[in-house]
Symmetry: C2
Subunit: 177 residues, 2 copies
DNA sequence: CTTACTGTACCGGCTGGACGGTCTTGTCAA
DNA sequence: TTGACAAGACCGTCCAGCCGGTACAGTAAG
């Protein structure tokens, strides 16, 4: 009665994100993830020989998806700036009230250095956006405001109403030009 | 060799913040905090009968300090808006590269609900700022950009250079009017 | 075709250690 | 005497990582 489809890796990664979101970042144990993924602990450890490797996999997966989504957005609308695409992507990401990435807190608790790739990615993204604009001040405001939006979503903070969210996005797009 | 008359409570709170910052949020154990505070475990548990109470104390302390600082800023410069005061306060808070509040991650791992008072505070602050301005769009941008700045500081992300930081603050103050 | 061998993917019990919380005993100042 | 701790042994629980299996796929000799 072995599972025919092998790709346990992705199932495990998804399960880890689910557990962190639903049971809280403090409850992300290997057993919980394995159980959620329909895999034994041994099977989990086979795919990710250590918890740190699992966290690393989570980060890499996240970054890969993010980059893919960003490329798709910028490609599908050539007439607008990359900054606008980034704003819209982030607005969509943050619209639904899914923290969706609270596993990040588990990773930080494990070791803050796990965020290094994310920081590097953000830095690289900002550099790329800088090349496209002449108004650095406006770019920084937009970039940081999006960062704020993402952090609110991450912390599951619904400080903004839906109308305010839309107004914010519209205002940002106006500034971005 | 007892401490003469030092309020252990504050020492413990400060020690907890220190441990989380230096050893990482995942290493914030009662023993580590007690040792750092120069207090025995028994003494710690006398002041904070449970780890949850300690986290709660951390949050309350943080909020109290924040409100005090904000009131001081707004009071000392009556001719400028509360939003400007908030921007300047946050800029100063985030300038020095001190995460200073990574204990927040420990609190989240313990129980995400510990952030509820912080969310309420933020919401209340935004409401107060809304009453002062006519341009809601600009306010939201400033508020979120500051949130972004604070999250960068929290995650110990130095994506922005010092010059960019200054430019951002100047641009925000211009928008804030 | 069959037997024997090899590697892959996974199972699940176990252990050693860390941690939160309790409890007891002691100390010293007011 | 009491209140505010110090000191730390102890307990129960949780959890990461380890290890000895197991099921199956391929493969290749006989």
């Amino acid at each position: 009665m072995r599972a025919p489809r092998a790709n346990s890796r992705e199932k495990i990664l998804a399960a880890a994100a689910d557990v962190a979101r639903e049971a809280g970042p403090g409850s992300l144990s290997l057993e919980a993830v394995a159980s959620r993924a329909g895999v034994s602990k041994g099977g989990l450890l086979y795919n990710f020989p250590t918890k740190a490797k699992l966290m690393q996999g989570l980060v890499e997966n996240y970054l890969r998806d993010f980059q893919k989504a960003l490329e798709a957005r910028t490609a599908e609308a050539r007439h607008e700036s990359a900054l606008s695409a980034y704003i819209k992507l982030s607005a969509d990401d943050c619209e639904r009230p899914k923290p969706s990435a609270s596993w990040i807190f588990s990773a930080i608790a494990e070791d803050p250095d796990f965020l290094a790739p994310i920081k590097a990615f953000k830095h690289q993204l900002l550099e790329r956006l800088k090349e496209e604009t002449s108004d650095l001040g406006s770019l920084l405001i937009c970039f940081l405001a999006i960062e704020g939006l993402r952090s609110m979503n991450l912390f599951d903070s619904d400080v903004l109403s839906e109308d305010e969210h839309k107004l914010l996005v519209a205002s940002l797009l106006k500034i971005a030009g």
